[in-house]
Symmetry: C2
Subunit: 426 residues, 2 copies
């Protein structure tokens, strides 16, 4: 059985390798035609995809998935239309492959051209949401990569139906159907086998829970681009515009608490902490945010708020936690340096913001905080491919190599050097 | 014992992390002053380094190292001067950190700046040559990274002496001595422990034999940039200038056969194979090159050469082999497409060249061959940081993510996004 599984996954890897060779030299117009055909097929197959999805929903309900999980799993006509729209948008974006990244000529007459090329074969390992099947496949194909998808068991029927529609679309445009492959087995062993297939896979992108990502990081023999957690902080400096700071923390915490770029920590300069908590603290409490405060912060609330049941004592752990809900850890600091040091040792180097009217303090923060995105006077919620103007996004990389922060089409490419000469030797 | 070792390596990791935080915000002028002080210290310590090296040479001779190995191990005044000169060159190069890689503004008024930053802590695992200790440390420091070096046991005394001189130089300029650390133990267990320290190490660069690189790739939890083998090919097309092709293959094979960018395979278009072998084949034989030929190539030598003992039958394995010596695998092909397919399945995606007078065939090759560097009418020997104009080189990456091909200062940096606003929220 396990040997069968091995053989099956290896065959998928081999087919992907073959497809990648074709995709690497496929012109932009063909790739875009394939994407449009994929959108068409997805809409044509609406009924069968929704039927497949019903099987997943039924199993999910039986297995006691939460309402939120069921909702993330659910596909309807509207969601499929949005998916197809996303594919058409990708088709309209410029080709990330074939860009000239740098050109120069040496004294010996050799001309150097650094040019973007596809990575090759990319493995995407993800959980629950079936729309990832489409998003990931589409972006990989647009960047000339073959993709091997391994989704979660909760969405297996939906994923199979979506992948099969996408494959048909790719084939309509003359591309190998194996440009997009979904592993039809959700056995955990599959992840381990994929991790060992450095012969076929050039890169692995795990998206999902910490356990999944750690498993892949530990076992993968090929490069991995991790999409870890976001423990993001907002620091309000002593000379901040407090009304602006209030808007920013409320937005960063409350607008969509379940995502990685939402704030989990509020750092307050001692000089403004009391005034800020009286106004912004109250507003956060009104929004239902539980404030887990260090001793200093707790003592600085105005008396009429102190008894609010949402104000709690923070544990040490709270400042290392990605709550993904309406909980905020609050701490008083004495300087921007202390804020930077706290973020460095407690945060996840994802997105952090300073609110200040002092540009030299801001620059200190922007330089000193080693995170993928650092903000001055703006909400951490802008860490997103769309908000960055990338037009799409495969995720937010928490790695420092190859891709950091919002990862879109350019980050799905590698490069090579083309060197043209007239007989030069050393 | 093993727990002691664990503790020792972890302490090194922790100290490197602390140093990295300091280096990240150290101005260029201080880093360059440190580099110059390191060069000074290296020269001042010439005697003690040469004495330490004598211990390694003695042990090497006792352990039966080959003459070539002993020569690579040997340090003398001249080599130390060259090392110091290399450091001064690095000091004079522009700082790779703080470059603005891209800037843009969105309609909402947010300004985005993508800026280069150090990677953090880099682990370099290498074998034999003690000059790597200096080269790697210097480039890492110039790019604002702390480095943990783990050299081979053959060079341990030399490496310790060099690292201690470099540390002293860094300290002279006020940088933490732990910016540069050499693991003083060469136990194999050290590599395993380093591979698990993703808490401290942001990246691992193994340089050396295939076994070492595979061990690191298999066990590392952090990103790895591999420096694997070079199975490089030169393809002579049917419309090539055969005199130019001859110069190129002789240079690519003979000028320095022991390096990764030397050619190991010669592919000949059937139409010119006979003419080319009569001239270039003879020249290669005169240089003492053993030609391992497929049946077609063997049959196409002129009669007066056929009996030459250096002409041998190629095995299948020969076309997958990095000889690193005066051996060349020779094969006849019928088209540029066949050459590309051969290189794709037999080569190591390092450096490959076409010699042709036909620009459309050349473009087919430059696009179709998926290697880090692809040449038209030039020797593969130019795959080198110096020849590229990078001013230095940490090695040739055979990976496709983050860094591909010659890897120098820019490739030792990551980036972050600095986003400046005026209170923007989503």
């Amino acid at each position: 059985m396990n040997e069968d599984l091995h053989g099956q996954i290896h065959a998928i890897g081999e087919a992907a390798r073959v497809a990648a060779r074709v995709l690497a030299i496929t012109p932009s117009s063909t790739k875009d035609a394939a994407l449009r055909a994929m959108a068409d097929r997805l809409l044509e197959e609406t009924e069968s995809i929704i039927n497949a999805n019903a099987l997943d929903l039924e199993a999910g309900t039986k297995n006691g998935l939460s309402e939120a999980m069921i909702d993330r799993l659910r596909l309807d006509e509207k969601r499929l239309k949005a998916m197809a729209e996303g594919i058409r948008t990708a088709a309209s974006l410029p080709d990330p492959v074939g860009r000239s990244l740098k050109e120069w000529t040496k004294e010996n007459g050799l001309t150097f051209r650094k040019i973007s090329v596809p990575i090759g074969v990319i493995g995407i390992i993800y959980e629950s949401r079936p729309n990832v099947t489409s998003d990931a496949a589409v972006l990989c194909l647009k960047a000339g990569n073959a993709v091997i998808l391994r989704g979660g068991s909760e969405a297996i029927h939906s994923n199979k139906a979506i992948a099969s529609a996408l494959q048909a679309g790719a084939a309509d445009a003359g591309l190998p159907a194996s440009s997009i492959q979904l592993v039809p087995v959700t056995d955990r062993e599959v992840v381990r086998i994929l991790c060992e297939m450095d012969r076929y896979l050039d890169c692995m992108i795990p998206r999902g829970g910490k356990g999944l990502i750690e498993t892949v990081a530990r076992h993968a023999r090929m490069p991995v681009i991790k999409h870890y957690d976001g423990i993001c902080a907002v620091y309000v400096d002593k000379v901040a515009d407090l009304a602006m700071a209030r808007e920013i923390i409320v937005n960063a915490k409350c607008q969509r608490p379940g995502v990685c770029n939402a704030a989990e920590t509020l750092l307050l300069h001692r000089d403004i902490a009391s005034a800020f908590l009286a106004e912004a603290g109250k507003l956060l409490l009104d929004y239902g945010v539980e404030l887990r405060c260090d001793a200093a912060a707790r003592s600085l609330f105005p008396d009429h708020l102190k008894a609010n049941a949402l104000i709690k004592e923070a544990s040490k752990e709270d400042f290392h936690t990605e709550f993904l809900s309406l909980i905020l850890a609050v701490k008083v600091v004495d300087s921007v340096e202390e804020a930077i040091a706290h973020i460095d040792s407690h945060g996840s180097h994802h997105s952090d913001a300073i609110v200040t009217a002092d540009s030299s303090t801001a620059e200190k923060f922007l330089q000193g905080v080693d995170s993928a995105t650092v903000y001055w006077n703006a909400s951490t919620r802008f860490t997103d491919g769309g908000e960055f103007g990338f037009g799409c996004e495969i995720g937010i990389s928490t790695d420092k190599l190859h891709a950091r922060g919002p990862m879109a089409l350019e980050e799905l490419t590698s490069y090579k050097y083309q060197i043209r000469g007239s007989g030069q030797v050393r």
